[in-house]
Assembly symmetry: C2
Homo-oligomer: 353 residues x 2
């Protein structure tokens, strides 16, 4: 910075003022400094700036190890939102759902100098915990009350299940991720609530991890049971695995069995058949989460109504494609009846609610 100052014929202080935009500088002086900066290719040293201001303009996000598309979209969304607001994002990964793992992740982020943390990993109610020392926003389920930011995961289970019931299915089976995930639990609760509200039998839930593998394993189990006609898979990856198992077993989707997924990952519209799924507005969710965190950071005296989450924006929506249909009334139904009506762009699907 001293070099720039010398080249511009001013003091280092003035260079700082020009670069930070704070303070009053004559236009001609500013131009001279800008010119010198360009000529010398000067770039401020962030470490020094951080040391001096005490601010890092860096946020942290705690994620799971999983390579699921949902996780990816959350990270990408947070990354983008941070960039838009002039922040950087550091991620930390937890491999287990235990509190120790979380604490370690938070410590790692703290040492990396983050000013706030977004928790996008499962936090079981028993382990309810928030890292001390900086603001936290959670993309966790609302049930525990304390987190500031929520998606209505229960609504996801409800939407999917009601859709299948409305099509005429007697009941709906559920293929889900690990029981200790709040998302999983809440989606199961929504599914359960929809079934009991309809007064139908509630089958046992199948749990696995979130991989297509496990979807396949659980799908095989369900494929053996001829009474199964409707399946709610708690993620698109699980749904894909389950559909594969059904296909292997010779049970047609949706003619014999209907399947609903969750997430609406990019390829969901291009599966055979295109997958009916519940879309989560990841981009909006992460954007809102980051905004909330930044607003906490920048004027801790909360900006009133702005802090409250617009639940309208974060509501999940059902995307109806071709993996769901009314259950076969007769005994057969093996002909490949439905050629998808998806528009050429492929992204379509009728949007409901």
């Amino acid at each position: 910075m001293a070099d720039v100052a010398q080249a511009a014929g001013v003091s280092a202080q003035t260079v700082s003022r020009v670069l930070s935009g704070r303070g009053i500088v004559r236009d001609s002086t500013r131009a001279a400094v800008d010119d010198a900066v360009r000529r010398l290719g000067y770039q401020p040293n962030l470490a020094a700036r951080t040391l001096a201001t005490g601010r890092t303009r860096r946020l942290g996000i705690i994620l799971t190890e999983s390579t699921s598309t949902a996780r990816i979209m959350v990270e990408a969304g947070a990354q983008a939102a941070c960039r838009r607001l002039g922040y950087r994002l550091t991620s930390a990964v937890v491999s287990t759902t235990g509190i120790r793992s979380l604490r370690r992740a938070a410590d790692q982020l703290r040492s990396d100098g983050v000013e706030g943390i977004i928790v996008a990993a499962p936090v079981t109610a028993r382990d309810r915990w928030t890292p001390k020392g900086f603001p936290v926003v959670s993309l966790d389920d609302a049930s525990a009350g304390s987190p500031e930011f929520v998606t209505d995961q229960r609504a996801i289970g409800r939407l999917a299940t009601e859709h299948l019931l409305e099509l005429g299915h007697r009941t709906v089976w559920c293929v889900c991720g690990p029981a200790q995930w709040p998302e999983a639990k809440a989606r199961v609760e929504g599914w359960h609530a929809a079934l009991t509200a309809a007064g139908v039998v509630v089958p046992e839930v199948l749990h696995g991890d979130w991989t297509p593998h496990e979807g396949y394993r659980m799908g095989r189990l369900l494929a053996e049971d001829p009474s199964v006609t409707g399946i709610f898979a708690a993620s698109d990856e699980l749904a894909i695995g389950a559909m594969h198992a059904l296909w292997d077993a010779g049970r047609a989707v949706p003619d014999e069995v209907s399947v609903v997924g969750v997430d609406d990952i990019p390829i969901a519209a291009h599966l055979c058949p295109p997958l009916t799924t519940v879309r989560q507005p990841f981009a909006r969710l992460t954007d809102a989460a980051v905004r909330l965190l930044v607003s906490k950071l920048e004027h801790r005296a909360a900006s009133a109504g702005d802090d409250g989450l617009d639940t309208q924006l974060t509501r999940p929506s059902l995307i109806v494609r071709s993996s769901t249909a009314a259950p076969a009334s007769g005994t057969d139904g093996t002909h490949r009846s439905r050629v998808a009506q998806v528009d050429a762009s492929g992204a379509g699907g009728r949007r409901v609610r």
Copy 2:
């Protein structure tokens, strides 16, 4: 740090020595310091350490905006490799393939204090460029010579194409990503080479972006041509879109048309039919890239043979599943003949070469 020093009854300097592990400290002193650190919950300030040492232990990676699984796996792999080596990773995103965009990304990373950069975005030969001032490792194609790190993208196109030719297809059509991507170009070259080596006609290449959408669009075009029996899609996402288009058009895979993808993304084994694809060893590639970069950083006097890339490890491999078969010899072939033989784990598939 001063507080810790006082609590431990030593100087700040000694605390620094204990924490950094450099310098000689009596065991009893070390214990006292460690104890004080724990009691006070002290964590060193990275910005200050960086300012003093000039080292950030942070690497950068330049990625595209795409949300393709391949990109994700590269980032995740690099992230993991960095963590293993005690480095942090910052990512920068480019939206265009132009050199300006690259330069901006590099500047952003520079200002973030990275010590080295991994380039995992397309760099066209015309724009051949390396950011000045720090070491760079590229996950780019080898053709340009200068990058230090390569995958044999040509082999990918060759493997896929030869597989289809060996099955008896007269020729192979190609569905590819943007022509300005070196990966795309190299894969097309491999495909082209395999076709000309076999002395068969070389159809025109279809180009789009890397999304399943575009795969669908291009797939529709190919589906209209009854002479098309074998398709090489340059990514699994493209393959999925193409398969969707074929399905929409009523052309069975693999009975009427065979499809080969690239990447072996997690769901590839669970598509209907399970996708034959060329696997790239992403984890190994990124791990090797990060290691090379770090070795450059830590003892610039290259560690001899270690720097040379073990091409054995980075060789792509063909995973044969059920989306490819010999072309129908008769005029028909519409019955759904093959029930997949994939093992229950679903990850399987015969591995070739």
